[in-house]
């Protein structure tokens, strides 16, 4: 059942659930934290409206910089601002930042240990009709490999807002992965958020469960609906929201693996190098457990609407259910 303690949206399974994009959470969050802390500056590479950086630009024009369509420059100018004491949020599409400018992020931000926050909107298949060129499906892999980098993938508007405010208060380089589409409001203002701490969003009172599902980002809503259906049909399940992919909450993952003995990971990203890989790294070392990976399987996306693409690339409801069945059948006891 839904974890009552974390105060999720009571309308979670309603048809008319409120929807908002995670990028809006960033846009509102950065204005809020910008009011408290004058060191916050925001940069964009010709995408101020799309990334919602425009809200900050209107409020604090002297602390906003548009560097044009130049993502390499974007990352390094942000590094320079950080070097003189600012806390920069550098915004663009995930495909181009951290995609195109990866080496600048590595050297001038992470190697240099500057507190720059890379904000990549329009990640994943939900970028939809724009097609495969614009659907970042590799960004978690290329950021989590960087020493010092914090990687956060919020599940909804509220979590994105909290993540924005929380990362502004750390001195760590951070990647904030956001989406364009309006997605269901899973959490509320009262849901806890702490960088690096996974949230058990669906729990069972039993000592052991049939399966544990681990997800990140906007697919969490789909996962929760599936968990609810599974439970009603007699399959016991727990669900972890891993909003922080790096540093990953090892103990929460190990605990879930102990309780379930079978894990399914669900993400809007390539299976190679993403959340599933991160979970597998934890479990292979600490508690080898059967895992099934739901994600994009070594392919590029194409044009289509989000739901069509989820089904085409097998990260839809039936793919998740299939993986649940499969992983349970692989359990040894």
């Amino acid at each position: 059942m839904i974890n009552k303690k974390i105060k999720l949206n009571p309308d979670l399974f309603e048809e008319n659930i409120d929807k908002k994009p995670t990028r809006d959470g960033f846009g509102d969050g950065v204005v809020e934290v910008g009011k408290e802390d004058e060191r916050i500056v925001v940069l964009t590479a010709d995408l101020s409206e799309s990334t919602r950086a425009n809200k900050f630009a209107e409020e604090f024009p002297n602390r906003f910089f548009n560097v044009g369509i130049a993502e390499q420059n974007l990352a390094s100018v942000a590094s320079g601002l950080a070097a003189v004491g600012k806390i920069p949020f550098a915004t663009s599409y995930a495909m181009f930042s951290p995609g195109r400018n990866w080496e600048q992020i590595r050297t001038t931000i992470c190697y240099n240990d500057q507190p720059v926050k890379i904000v990549g909107s329009h990640s994943g298949l939900t970028t939809g009709p724009d097609g495969g060129t614009h659907q970042a499906l590799e960004d978690i892999a290329i950021t989590r490999v960087l020493p010092r980098m914090i990687v956060i993938c919020p599940c909804d508007y509220e979590e994105a807002k909290k993540a924005t405010i929380a990362c502004a208060k750390t001195s760590d380089p951070t990647y904030l992965r956001l989406s364009r589409e309006k997605t269901p409001q899973i959490t509320t203002k009262d849901t806890p958020f702490e960088i690096g701490k996974a949230i058990k969003v669906f729990e069972s009172k039993e000592e052991s469960v049939d399966v544990g599902i681990i997800s990140t980002g906007i697919l969490l809503h789909k996962v929760l609906k599936i968990a609810n259906d599974l439970e009603q049909n007699g399959t016991s399940v727990e669900v972890l929201n891993i909003h922080t992919i790096k540093p990953i909450d090892e103990s929460a993952i190990i605990e879930l693996a102990k309780k379930s003995g079978a894990i399914v990971t669900v993400e809007e990203h390539q299976i190679v190098g993403g959340l599933g890989s991160a979970v597998a790294e934890v479990l292979a070392k600490n508690l080898p457990t059967p895992i099934e990976f739901v994600g994009v399987s070594d392919q590029y996306g194409q044009s289509g609407n989000a739901e069509e693409l989820f089904s085409q690339y097998k990260i839809d409801e039936s793919a998740i259910l299939e993986s649940v069945e499969k992983v349970i059948s692989r359990k040894t006891n």
Binding site: V41, G68, N73, V77, G80, A83, G85, T108, N112
Partner: protein, 290 residues
């Protein structure tokens, strides 16, 4: 600025010669590293650290300091030697260059060595960082601040497109507290710049991006001083100083030869080079040397 005394010039020339000797010694001990560019920019390094920069080697993170960004990080043996002579760390430490555990990394790392403003080496990103620093300083100190950001790039480095992104940004924000120095030595790893990727008329290029442009002899302290003085007085524009330099300057055998871009001298080569620097072979006039 722009009125440096003859005495000061003489003093800087002497200092530059000492620094060149240290460069040869540390590169020879390291057994690898970039000789030509380090020697070619020694006079400008010397001018900056012994005359122009507002800095305090004892308080490297002094808040009101000027900032020097070395974008072409591979010529750090020149910067390290200059910093050592300026008092940032003991000259003897130059012998640890490129060795395990050394503060003097093969390409500079700001966390290893206090006084290094940014880690650099991968070419093309230093100017963007300098732009960010100049913007940040302007937020805190105002547009007409006297706190300057100096950035050095190699001419071959200008092949990197990111420089031109940064050049546009500096111009857009009219960063008058930014001074770019281009080491125009005409060589890069694979040969002469105009063969590998022609830069053509750099002055015209920068002018068309609305920068204030000056071109100087990188080994003439009066010209360096004059150009920096002018650059600091320019209003509403970033400044570039195109510094025509002789790669390997000071040692006849190393001069103007692309093969000296990325290697260090052998012990024998170093011996000859040091002898030449001691006598200066008549190239740098200074009566006070033996």
């Amino acid at each position: 600025m722009g009125n440096i005394s003859d005495e000061k010039v003489k003093e800087l020339q002497l200092k530059a010669t000492e620094i060149r000797k240290s460069i040869i010694e540390s590169l020879t001990e390291a057994g690898s590293g970039h000789t030509a560019g380090s020697l070619g920019m020694t006079d400008i390094f010397t001018y900056l650290y012994f005359y122009a920069l507002k800095h305090d080697p004892k308080i490297p993170d002094w808040l009101d300091r000027d900032i020097f960004v070395l974008s072409n990080g591979h010529i750090c043996p020149g910067l390290y030697a200059t910093m050592a002579h300026a008092g940032y760390f003991p000259v003897s430490e130059l012998q640890t260059l490129r060795k395990l555990g050394s503060r003097l990394q093969g390409h500079p790392h700001r966390e290893y060595l206090p006084g290094i403003e940014t880690s650099s080496g991968p070419l093309g990103s230093g100017l963007s960082q300098a732009v960010g620093m100049a913007l940040g300083i302007r937020i805190d100190y105002g547009k007409t601040t006297n706190r300057f950001v100096y950035c050095m790039v190699g001419d071959g480095e200008l092949d990197e497109g990111q420089n031109w992104e940064a050049i546009m940004t500096a111009s857009k924000y009219r960063l008058q507290n930014l001074i770019l120095i281009v080491d125009r030595n005409n060589i890069q790893i694979d040969g002469y710049t105009e063969d590998v990727m022609p830069l053509n008329d750099l002055n015209e290029k920068f002018e068309s991006f609305n920068w204030h442009v000056q071109e100087i002899d990188a080994h003439n302290f009066e010209m360096i001083d004059d150009a920096v003085g002018h650059a600091k007085s320019v209003f509403d524009k970033p400044s570039v100083i195109i510094a025509n330099s002789i790669p390997g300057k000071g040692v006849e055998d190393f001069q103007r030869k692309p093969e000296w871009h990325g290697k260090s001298p052998t012990k024998d080569e170093a011996k000859n080079a040091l002898k030449e620097l001691r006598t200066l072979a008549g190239k740098i006039k200074c009566d006070q040397l033996d």
